[in-house]
């Protein structure tokens, strides 16, 4: 999986370079003024970014769809806990960052395992994609009785780091995020 992502990123980087070259060539040929050239560059970059945003969205969903439910012999996708339109990617261009917002829907409103599911999603995503991606994970609005409490906990990096040093909790998370051979 990691290999696929890095090769995709490489492809993207190559594409960017090619585009840059094309723009530069166009700019050099066009003596009429640099305003047009600048505009082309911005437009092209926007398109590229949109493409990259969509790519990232697909990648993230691919990572989380196969996470196993802590209790049932099924994946989060099978149980409709995660779904494609629950992944949103926002591009913070000025900071060169992507903010990824993942929404999930616990099977029952008092589901005691919601925190564990949130934790599994976070750990699996951050292990696969690191730089320039910021992660926010939320329970679908109104889907849980202690929604706000859980949201705060699974988005507190210190609580997550400490949880992962708890051997029994770590074992459960590792089982949930283990890829089938």
């Amino acid at each position: 999986m990691i290999l696929t992502i890095s090769s995709l990123l490489m492809m993207f980087a190559n594409l960017m370079q090619q585009t840059k070259k094309i723009i530069q060539e166009k700019y050099l040929k066009n003596d009429s003024g640099n305003t047009t050239a600048t505009m082309i560059e911005i437009d092209t970059t926007d398109e590229q970014l949109e493409e990259k945003t969509q790519e990232l969205k697909d990648q993230i969903f691919d990572i989380i769809r196969t996470i196993k439910d802590p209790e049932k012999p099924a994946t989060l996708e099978d149980l409709n806990v995660v779904y494609e339109n629950g992944v949103e990617v926002i591009n913070q261009r000025s900071l060169k960052l992507y903010t990824v917002r993942i929404e999930f829907n616990p099977t029952v409103p008092h589901c005691s395992l919601a925190t564990l599911i949130g934790l599994s999603i976070r750990i699996k995503v951050i292990r696969s994609i690191l730089e320039n991606v910021k992660l926010d994970i939320y329970i679908k609005e109104g889907a849980h009785t202690t929604e706000e409490e859980i949201n705060k906990q699974i988005n507190d990096k210190e609580r997550v780091a400490a949880a992962m040093e708890n051997p029994s909790l770590r074992d459960v998370v590792e089982k949930c995020i283990k890829e089938e051979e």
């Binding site: 060169k96 960052l97 730089e131 507190d156 609580r159 400490a162």
Partner: protein, 338 residues
């Protein structure tokens, strides 16, 4: 005044998250700690000449979350997710772990020495703040267990001159504590309530009359101290003092602000943010004490490759800043005025 923050040195060595840094009071040594359970001491030299001085391992079983030098510079305290605090003393040319403080139920998040060095404060996810008295021969005695917060306590900081303790919490508040002169009991003497999410860190200015707090709500807040009978007419209950929020700095940080440091030499504020940026703030000239305004005079985008967890101004060398990050790096910066 404008300025530019320039990276002068990157210190590599930690594996995984680097959580905290602390300057030795003489400003020539920096300590860092992290997920790899180690503490690293770095010799600070101007330019890119800083090097690793020594490595303190085997003190903790889990992440070392925070470290703090005593003001005399002879002791270093470390707080860990393993629920303990270790005290490292400099004796006969090396650092040795001479005491381990136990008592917290789970992760210890922060540790701080009082100005006089006679007290140590710690806080934990167990919601409590502990004050320890420091005796001769590495004896540490618990003087108070303070349960003013309703949640996880993230940070403890002492007032720069007086024995006033401040703590920041996941319950969105900051609490202040003092020892009652009559019965020698530590009590909560104030609550700073205005943030809408976890307060990650706080810092006093050089006078101790102002506090800056940083939060998960993406804002900084400046709090001004008012004494009883103040000319502004701010009500002070209980006869001590009150810290009132006089300024909210918003619109700059786009992720949680994990740490804030207020320079006692230049009065500049620096922040460590989850958006990989370090920002420097300065109070504007002619700013009103009761309604101050601050401007962002420097913003270093991609200061680290991941979340920045801590920033600390060097206490002696003007304009020198240390930072550390999830990316495993410790960096030293210099503020250059332009």
């Amino acid at each position: 005044m404008t300025g530019k923050l320039k990276a002068i040195c990157t210190l590599k060595g930690h594996t995984g998250i680097v959580w905290n840094t602390s300057w030795h009071p003489k400003g020539l040594m920096l300590a860092s700690c992290g997920e790899d359970k180690t503490i690293r001491l770095w010799n600070y030299k101007d330019g890119d000449k800083s090097t690793l001085k020594c490595l303190l391992a085997d003190g903790h079983q889990r992440t070392v979350r925070a470290i703090a030098w005593s003001h005399c510079g002879q002791s270093l305290a470390s707080a860990s997710f393993d629920a303990t605090i270790a005290i490292w003393d400099y004796k006969s040319g090396q650092f040795e772990c001479n005491a381990t403080l136990e008592g917290h139920e789970n992760e210890v998040k922060s540790v701080a020495w009082s100005r006089s060095g006679s007290m140590l404060a710690t806080c934990s996810r167990d919601k409590s703040v502990w004050v320890w008295e420091v005796w001769e021969d590495n004896e540490y005695e618990c003087a108070a267990v303070l349960n003013a917060h309703s949640q996880d306590v993230k940070k403890v900081v002492w007032h720069p001159h007086e024995d006033i303790l401040a703590s920041a919490s996941y319950d969105n508040n900051v609490k202040l504590y003092m020892e009652d002169a009559s019965d020698k009991e530590w009590t909560c003497v104030g609550t700073l309530s205005s943030h809408t999410s976890t307060v990650w860190s706080l810092a006093f200015d050089k006078t101790g009359d102002r506090i800056v707090t940083s939060s998960d709500d993406r804002t900084l807040k400046i709090w001004q101290k008012y004494l009883p009978g103040n000319p502004e007419g701010i009500s002070v209950k209980d006869g001590n003092f009150v810290y009132k929020c006089v300024c909210t700095i918003s619109g700059f940080h786009t992720r949680p602000i994990y740490d804030v440091t207020w320079c006692h030499l230049t009065d500049l504020i620096a922040t460590a943010c989850g958006d990989n940026s370090i920002r420097i703030f300065k109070e504007e000239d002619l700013s009103d004490r009761n309604q101050p305004s601050f401007s962002c005079i420097s913003h270093v985008n991609e200061a680290h490759l991941q979340d920045i967890n801590s920033v600390q101004w060097n206490p002696v060398v003007k304009g020198v800043l240390a930072s550390c990050s999830d990316d495993g790096m410790v960096k030293i910066w210099k503020m250059e005025s332009t």
